[in-house]
Symmetry: C2
Subunit: 280 residues, 2 copies
């Protein structure tokens, strides 16, 4: 089954478009975990246990794990072991290199860590992305419009009257032989999200920027979903992980994730007539 079909099936079974970003910052962990030797693993384990029935995906940004030093990759492996295969895992690594080197990155992310999907930077073009697309059941979300202020520096430059990111999307469509390409579009850019969904009506969209970064949730659902009200993967990190910084962090994370899922599902029913109801 190709990645897009797999994602759709999981979103239906889980009844959720929520992705929780497991971006644990050791400086922000609850004091109640300070006795644990592996407090990041313990934190992630409790967050996963508390939210795994509420999400379609977990996204792990490798920057956070690399910053933990030599133990970072072990912590990442041990976190991934906690994630059930009822959901997908996204290795948010934003890699991209000449084909030969990208092949090594893909080996690390897809073979060693066994992520279901990755994020990839398009600047180096086709052969830099290709190793992440070799297997139809694994996806790659290619950066289109990112959620940060610097997105304006290059992504919006006009090429033949259209912003650069539209050319990226055109390229990604040409790479999508196996139906396993997706796009990253920040929730902080709702108009661009609408335009991108028009350009790529059947592609999964990974949408970060909800919560701490201030993206509008209603618009993310309305413009990010495909016609069936699916294939948007809406990521929240800090607003779930740090919903409480006390001992009750896991139940607070569950509450935040549940609220997010329900709010999203409310908008799905509102905006997509085919979803007159959803299981609750």
């Amino acid at each position: 089954m190709n990645f897009t079909a797999r994602l759709r099936e999981i979103q239906r079974r889980q009844n959720s478009l929520v992705c929780v970003g497991l971006d644990a910052d050791p400086a922000k962990l609850p004091a109640s975990l300070s006795g644990h030797a592996d407090r990041v693993v313990e934190f992630n384990t409790q967050i996963i246990a508390a939210t795994k029935d509420l999400v379609c995906a977990y996204k792990l940004n490798l920057a956070f794990y690399e910053a933990m030093g030599r133990d970072g990759w072990t912590i990442l492996h041990r976190t991934l072991e906690q994630i059930p295969d009822t959901v997908i895992t996204i290795g948010d690594a934003k890699r991209g290199d000449i084909g030969n080197s990208s092949g090594f990155y893909a080996r690390a992310l897809l073979d060693d860590f066994r992520f279901t999907a990755t994020t990839v930077n398009p600047y180096m073009g086709g052969d830099s992305v290709e190793p992440f697309l070799k297997r139809e059941d694994r996806g790659a979300f290619i950066l289109a419009v990112t959620s940060n202020p610097g997105a304006r520096d290059l992504q919006y430059l006009r090429v033949n009257g259209k912003p650069l990111y539209e050319h990226v999307i055109r390229k990604v469509k040409s790479w999508n032989t196996f139906n396993n390409c997706g796009l990253v579009v920040g929730a902080t850019k709702p108009r661009e999200l609408q335009r991108i969904r028009e350009l790529a009506p059947t592609m999964p969209l990974l949408i970060p920027g909800i919560g701490a970064q201030g993206g509008d949730l209603a618009l993310a659902v309305r413009h990010g979903c495909d016609r069936s009200g699916e294939l948007a993967v809406i990521n929240a990190s800090r607003s779930v992980l740090y919903a409480s910084t006390r001992e009750d962090f896991a139940s607070a994370a569950r509450h935040a994730a549940q609220q997010l899922r329900d709010e999203i599902n409310g908008y799905r029913i509102k905006y997509f007539s085919s979803l007159s109801s959803l299981p609750s």
Copy 2:
């Protein structure tokens, strides 16, 4: 001392523009090392010992180390311990993320691994690059024109009559407050290299693509150097590492690196009148 001045000083002292890419592929190592428990570290250690007086820099592409699994980062640390501080180290990671996450990548590369410089992808713009530029003695080589076929997909798109990579360079110049920005320009693109050296006359250029990728060395020197015949960092990986695949790999690597240095210095004398002679 800012990174650019530091690089210039090291190139003068070492009398070399050569950078050796320590991109060890376990599948390509000499059979004579098969008895070693840590054969990648042993290989790198012998390559460094055989070439350290002939180079200005070592570049370590993180893709190769990440593909080695959980031990990869330890192997990378142990390799870096072998490199003397008479040369610079380049963490070729091509990272780039929203500012908060890029800060974590910079922490890993600059604080933990203590690389002198990194490579950075510009697609996400200013706040994604900024954490790599915070310290004036550490450099960041930002991707401009890469050496791979996919470079054509985005980097050459016309924006206001100029290729996208020229806009990248304009941005990089605006970020170069501390004189610690450099650019990556593939040796496979000599005309672009010439144009980029005109646009950024005093910036370090990291030039991969010599050797296995087929870039022209004479043109790389002629167009890549600044007016003093310096600040080009010319990388060779496979042609040095695998000059011999037998027991004599280290002396063969030394011979290849020496030949490359001397050939480059010959072109420097030919093309830059200020360098009528160089110490040999």
